[in-house]
Structure formats: C-alpha cells, structure tokens
C-alpha cells in the first residue's frame, strides 16, 4: 500500500450518544479515531451491540456525531446541513445493507437508476449506466425483474450495482452476507474483491464472519465503542 495515497476518511475523537429518557444519556462511541486511505479494503468486526452500525451510519453521513471531527473526502461532515448530507450520500457513498433494501415493485433496472435519478442524470445516460452495472454484477438477464422475483444473492448483487451507480468514492457494506448462505455470501464477497481490484474502490465492510474479514487488507476490532486492535498493519 503506497504512502502517497490520500486519506479519504479522517475521524478524530468521534463520540455518539443517544438520549434514552431524560436523565440517562447512553454513550455508544467513546472518541473513535480512524483514517482510511483511498482504495483500502477495510473490515470492522466486533461483538453485537459494540457500535459497528452506529459508526457506519456516521461514516455514511446518515447521522452526525455528538462530538468529534469527521472529514470525508475533504468535506467537514460535522458541520454540514441536511441538504448537503443528502448530496454527499448521493455522490460519495454507496450503501449495501444486510437486508438489501431494494425498492419493492420496482424493476432491478429502476432500482439501479435510483441514485442517478436523485443526482439529476439524464434518462438515456442513467439507463445505459444501470445496464452496464447490472452486467458487471452478472444480473444483465434479470434487469426487468422485480425484487420479489429475485433470490437473496441476486438481490444483493442488484444492491451492489445500485451502490456503484454514481461511481462513489466509498462503498459501505453493513453485514452484506449476513442474510445469505455461505455459498451465495462467497459470490457477493468475490464481487467486492472485484470492485476493489478492478475499480480501486474504497470499501468498508462490517462482518461477523472471521474468514471474510481475514480476506480484507485491514481488520478493525471494535469493543464497547473503542477500537481495540487494527490488524494487518494499518494504524488506528
């Protein structure tokens, strides 16, 4: 990994707490520091409830930290407004969810077009791009199928194509293989490797599967809202 590659995620002292009733304030993240370089394939592991998803939501600009500094691809997220966050999610982030979250009663093609619809891409361009992406994830034959007509693995491949739609800098995947059997999970994982290798995407993957985590370049272990280790040579 080259030292010259630029840092794309830069977090310092990120805290996140939730209000649960008046006197109690539950702090989930206790001052996280993290930096990820462009093109890295990072996995985050940790026990259930350790705060992985909470951290992922902050990385993905879906949520703002209670305190701390977060700079995503040069933009200070802690100070951005709602509209700005929408734009960042749209262009810089590609989400892949455990439960796929495809829009029901909408074809695979239309699902992949969706992020481009919000970025104002013209009809012809977005259809062409969506078709191209579906070919990459080997779903070209199922373009007009609705989510209810697809298997779990197929849905997740469509979701990955959708995450790639606006050619984002980062792909965030929260347990993308969690709802799939190991064989299908393997296919999805291979797809992430392909995107990483061929398109140089930065990928942050949350997983409970130790084997899959070992395939990545860097493993971050979270416990009770703090990183306790950063294996395979990165720094916390």
């Amino acid at each position: 990994m080259s030292e010259t590659k630029q840092v794309i995620i830069q977090m310092k002292g990120i805290r996140k707490s939730f209000y649960i009733g008046q006197p109690h304030e539950l702090e989930i993240l206790h001052g996280i520091g993290l930096s990820v370089r462009k093109g890295e394939f990072v996995s985050i592991v940790g026990a259930s409830g350790s705060g992985k998803s909470t951290l992922m939501n902050i990385i993905g600009a879906l949520d703002r930290p209670t305190s701390g500094e977060y700079i995503l691809d040069g933009v200070d997220i802690s100070k951005a407004g709602d509209g700005e966050l929408s734009g960042i999610r749209n262009r810089k982030i590609g989400f892949v969810f455990q439960t796929f979250n495809l829009i029901p009663r909408t074809s695979a093609l239309k699902n992949v077009e969706l992020p481009m619809l919000y970025s104002g891409t013209s009809k012809t361009l977005r259809t062409a791009r969506a078709k191209e992406l579906l070919e990459i994830v080997e779903m070209g034959e199922r373009m007009s199928h609705q989510p209810s007509e697809l298997s779990g693995g197929q849905k997740q491949r469509v979701a990955i194509a959708r995450a790639m739609a606006n050619d984002p800098a980062i792909i965030l995947a929260d347990e993308p293989t969690g709802a799939l059997d190991s064989e299908t999970g393997r296919l999805v994982m291979d797809l992430f490797h392909k995107l990483h290798r061929e398109q140089g995407k930065t990928i942050v993957l949350i997983t409970h599967n130790q084997e899959l985590a070992l395939e990545t370049e860097r493993i971050l272990t979270l416990r009770d809202g703090n990183f306790i280790s950063d294996e395979k040579g990165g720094q916390v």
Partner: protein
C-alpha cells in the same frame, strides 16, 4: 428528480393496489360526479322552464283583480285556494268592481305605444265536438282579436276572431288543426263548415273561420292522455262567450303584451299604478300586474339558491374524500418507511420525498376526479334526457372539476408528504 418519473412511480403504486386505490378515490369520485350531474340537470331544468315560460309569453303581463285584505289566505293564492276550498271569494264581486272597457280604453290612450297587444279571455267551459263517431275534446274560451298575438298562435287557415265578430256577437270559431282533422278529416276542409259543440246542458253550432296549429308544451302540465283525447282550445268571440255564460261586461283579468323594445316589468309597474287611481276608493279590490319575466327572475333566484346548497353538499363530500386521501397517504407512508429510509440513504433530499408523495396524492385525486367527471356526464346526460331536455355539461365545469380535484390532492397530500420528508433516515431504515 424528474417529474415524469414521479408520475410513473405513483401510477405503478396505485396499480399494485387497485382495490385500495379505488376505495380511496370513492369520496372524490362521488363528490365530483354529484357536482357534474347536478349542474347538468340544473342547466336542463332552467332552460326547460325558461323556454316553457318564453313559449307561454315571455313579454306578457298578467293584470288581474285581487282582494285588498285577504283573510287567512296568502296574497296571489286567494283565487285558487278559494275555489278549491269550495266557496268563491270573488263571489261578492259587483259589476262596478270589474275592469271596465272604459278603463281599458284609457289605458290604450296612455300607454298604447308601449303595448303590442291586449288580450282578454272568458272561459266558457269544457265541451266536445261531435259528428257521428268522430269527436274532439275542447276547452271553449271567448277571446278578443289580440289573443292571437299574445299567445303567439300560428294560424294555418282562414282568420282569427276580429272586432266585427265581437261587435255582432256571432257564433264563429277558430279551431285547432287537431279538431279539424278529427271532425272533417282534413284541416283545410274545415273552413266555413259548421261544427256542433256539446256543452253540459246545451248544444251550440259555430261556423269555422280559422284553424290554428296545436302545439304541445315542452313541459306537459297535465297528466298524459291518449293522443285523440287531448283537449285543445276552441276560440269564440268574447261577446258571444259572455252572452252564453251571462257574465257582465268588463273583466276580472286580461293579458298585456309589451312591445319588443319595452321592459315588461317596467310596463307592469306603470299599469299597476295606472289602475291604482281607479281602485283607490274601492274597499275590496285592487288591480295587480305581474310580468312573466319577473316570474323567470324569481325562478333564477330559486335555482341560484339551490345551486349554493348543492355546492355546499358537494364541498362536504369532497372534504370527506380529501380526508380519506390524507388517511390512506398516512397509512402508505408508514408502510413504506423503510423505502423512504432507503431513498434517503441513496441521496434523496427532503424535497424529493415531499414531491414524490404530493404527486402521488394528486394522481389519486386526479384519477378519482376524472372517473367522477365521466360518471357525472353519464348521469347528467341520462337524467336530463329523462326530463325531456338533453343537456351536456360545459367545458368550464369540467375544467373546474379537474383543477379542483388536483387542488384537493395538493392540500390533503401535503401534510403526509411533509411527514415522510422529515423522517430521520436511520430510524426509517431500522423500522420493522
């Protein structure tokens, strides 16, 4: 995000749940259909009534004697009520109370240049013309020459009753083409023939001097009878009629027809004040003059009030329909919370989400409105043809209905849409 995509989205959403969409639209459909139907029927009734009135003489003024201090009974209804209750209120009317020929002469001198015609009628009664097995039901009336003009009769053969007939009080008659056909077989054969008319107690023989065209009223006033039993008017000279009934000279009422450029209501006022001078000292009677156009105006007023009432009812039904749409939008938004969360994660702004749901509400209302319009047109056209005066709703009311249903969509869709737009993306994504 482009608009067409939003419309497409809304339509696919509706098609995926057709029954629910239809039930949601029902309030709008019924409201809009009711408005269109009622406006169409209202138009049909108004034009039927006005054309009937017009046919009965739009320029006519009815002058009649009425009691100054009617007891119990309402003004204007005294005559009909009195008769139907079995005693004649006018019974004690003296010959000196009647409108005399002299008064009418004075009226001519004063307002002759504003009056087109002055017609008088004296009802004799119902009778039957008979010749062997052929017969024709008649209503015998004594009239003057101007009656032809004020009733816009069309003369087919011969002439109408004239002043000479009245002076000499002869037995001549103007009959309908219906009577002529029934008795003489052919309308033009009747002229100068004799016709026998059976009344209650006597038989009178008349010479036919003219034949007029019988016209059915647009709005039949009496119950339907067989074609050959229809009672048509049989006109004889006024003086002949008075001789038969024993009525004194002078009349209780007559009809004026205003000249083309004269306002009937204004002339009616003048005529009324003209007669006030004669009847100032009469303790029992006065003379009233009412023009047809004031009756038509009153009709319009009534129709106006009815329209307002209908608008209120339609408004309530559309309000209920709108609330129904709002309710289903709130349900739909709750059901689609995860979808909303996903859209936000993919970069939808609050505005994108808001527009999406407002468009959906507008589409529901618009489709409901269009179905309502089609239904309303069908009911309106069908109903008005039953009334015997087919009418079609105007383009204006259809455009108003379309615009209004869209406005309902915007108004009742905004609150749910805004609620969706302001959802927190994480909470929406976590929604079970």
């Amino acid at each position: 995000m482009d608009f067409i995509e939003n419309i497409r989205l809304a339509v696919t959403g509706l098609l995926s749940n057709k029954m629910r969409a239809l039930l949601t639209m029902l309030g709008i459909i019924i409201g809009i259909a009711a408005v269109i139907t009622i406006v169409t029927l209202g138009d049909a009734i108004t034009s039927t009534v006005s054309s009937t009135m017009e046919e009965m003489g739009g320029k006519n003024i009815t002058v009649l004697l009425e009691e100054k201090n009617p007891e119990v009974v309402l003004p204007g209804m005294s005559q009909t009520l009195g008769v139907s209750m079995g005693f004649d209120i006018m019974g004690n009317m003296a010959e000196s109370d009647l409108i005399s020929d002299e008064m009418i002469g004075q009226l001519w001198d004063r307002y002759g240049d504003e009056i087109q015609a002055l017609s008088m009628i004296e009802q004799v009664g119902n009778g039957k013309a008979q010749d062997g097995r052929a017969y024709s039901n008649l209503s015998v009336s004594g009239v003057n020459g101007d009656y032809e003009k004020s009733e816009s009769l069309t003369l087919l053969e011969g002439r109408f009753i004239n002043d000479r007939d009245i002076d000499r009080a002869v037995n001549v008659a103007v009959i309908s083409d219906k009577t002529a056909k029934a008795i003489f077989g052919q309308a033009d054969k009747a002229l100068a023939q004799e016709i026998k008319v059976h009344m209650d107690t006597e038989i009178q023989t008349y010479t036919v001097v003219g034949i007029y065209e019988y016209e059915e009223l647009v709005m039949p006033m009496t119950t339907q009878v067989a074609e050959e039993d229809v009672r048509t008017a049989f006109y004889i000279p006024l003086s002949t009629a008075r001789k038969q009934t024993g009525a004194p000279d002078g009349c209780k009422s007559f009809t004026l027809m205003a000249k083309q450029n004269i306002q009937p209501s204004e002339l009616a006022d003048k005529v009324e004040s003209f007669f006030d001078i004669y009847y100032r000292d009469n303790v029992n009677y006065r003379c009233s003059a009412t023009s047809m156009d004031t009756i038509i105006e009153q009709m319009d007023d009534i129709m106006g009030t009815v329209s307002v009432a209908i608008a209120v009812i339609a408004g309530i039904s559309l309000l209920v329909g709108g609330i129904g749409v709002m309710n289903i939008m709130l349900v739909s938004i709750t059901e689609r919370t995860r979808e909303i969360g996903t859209r936000k994660a993919l970069g939808a702004t609050n505005g994108n989400i808001r527009i999406q749901f407002v468009v959906e509400a507008v589409i529901i209302c618009l489709i409901g409105g269009i179905i309502g319009i089609i239904l309303g047109i069908l009911c309106g056209v069908f109903g008005s043809s039953i009334l015997g005066y087919p009418a079609f709703p105007g383009v204006g009311i259809i455009l108003i209905a379309v615009t209004f249903s869209m406005l309902i969509g915007v108004f009742f869709g905004y609150y749910p849409a805004n609620k969706a737009a302001r959802m927190d993306p994480i909470e929406a994504l976590r929604y079970e």
